[in-house]
């Protein structure tokens, strides 16, 4: 799941070096946190979150293949 998000994010952003994906697990529930450079936020979120939602749909498939459920948060870098 993490690799999927990393692959999509690094392929879409202008600054792939600043892509960070962290993964938290609680039972079968997985939370992934995606961080990208501030200038790239729009590229991974999209208008009305269109890109982020499409990524979530693909993430759902990846999670289902492992018998898990996953959510994706996109965070500003700190």
């Amino acid at each position: 799941m993490k690799e999927l998000i990393e692959y999509i994010a690094t392929s879409l952003v202008a600054d792939p070096k600043q892509v960070r994906v962290t993964q938290y697990r609680r039972g079968s529930m997985v939370t992934l946190k995606l961080q990208v450079a501030k200038e790239d936020m729009g590229r991974v979120i999209g208008k009305n979150g269109k890109v982020a939602n499409a990524i979530r749909v693909l993430l759902r498939v990846a999670a289902a293949q492992e018998g898990k459920r996953a959510t994706l948060d996109v965070d500003e870098p700190r």
Binding site: N53, L58, V61, A62, Q65
Partner: protein
């Protein structure tokens, strides 16, 4: 795809990064490819007008099955030529080499995504053979495998998400946008037949009853099919009403 010339065009902030990225993508050692620098890129001024570097990696007499083994007949040396004339990214008619590259990049992107989604499937890409001359050349991707219903999702939600993401990635790789349509086991063509049939049936009903027929909410590509199917019907007009994602087609008798 035996003994076919394969090449990959990579865009990255620097020439070195582009070459590294390309080699990683192809999964071959550096001495198995011929490197051509298409654009060295520039830093620009105050962050304005900066261009990314573009390189093309070409493989010869190389098949994917030979991964890991040293292919024969491959150019041994890596030539880095920086061409003084910078090729334009926007070409009115794609050359055969660049169109082959478009297909390969699209196919590899879909394959990579499916792999990372842990979905086992065969991916093929081709240009749309039924293309009207006035529209842009579009790429058709077909995914074949066992039990791929998970890739379609409710109302093709997953398939559309995959198509959208692949479109974005390929657009970025090529530096230009190209229409891509992804199909799983002929799902889209079957659905297209169903939609056209539905359109004709509902039009008949509208004419028979003299009342407007409101269809179920549909995504834009499916609404488009209905408008096209009934465009030449002299007895009805079609119109889309409502807001996304609940926008729907109405068929109005004239």
């Amino acid at each position: 795809m035996n003994n076919q010339r394969t090449s990959l065009e990579i865009i990255a902030p620097t020439v070195q990064e582009a070459i590294a990225k390309g080699l990683a993508e192809l999964g071959v050692p550096e001495d198995a490819v011929h490197v051509e620098v298409l654009d060295e890129g520039s830093r620009g001024f105050l962050g304005l007008g900066s261009r990314h570097a573009r390189v093309r990696l070409s493989l010869e007499d190389y098949t994917r099955d030979e991964l890991g083994t040293q292919p024969t007949g491959v150019e041994e040396s890596v030539k880095i030529e920086s061409s003084s004339t910078v090729e334009s990214t926007i070409e009115s008619k794609p050359s055969p080499a660049s169109s082959e590259l478009t297909l390969e990049i699209t196919r590899l992107t879909v394959q990579e995504l499916l792999e990372k989604m842990k979905v086992k499937a065969e991916v093929t890409a081709q240009f749309n053979p039924e293309q009207d001359d006035n529209s842009k050349q579009s790429v058709l991707v077909n995914i074949q495998g066992n039990d791929l219903s998970i890739l379609i999702g409710r109302q093709a939600e997953t398939l559309n998400a995959l198509q959208y993401i692949v479109g974005l990635i390929v657009c970025k790789e090529l530096g230009k946008s190209i229409p891509i349509s992804i199909d799983v086991e002929g799902y889209r063509s079957r659905r297209e037949q169903q939609i056209r049939q539905l359109a004709r049936r509902m039009a008949d009903q509208a004419i028979k009853t003299g009342r407007r027929q409101v269809l179920e909410p549909m995504p834009s590509n499916e609404r488009r099919l209905i408008h096209i199917e009934l465009r030449d019907n002299p007895h009805v007009n079609t119109e889309s009403i409502g807001e996304e994602p609940r926008r729907k087609v109405t068929i109005i008798p004239k």
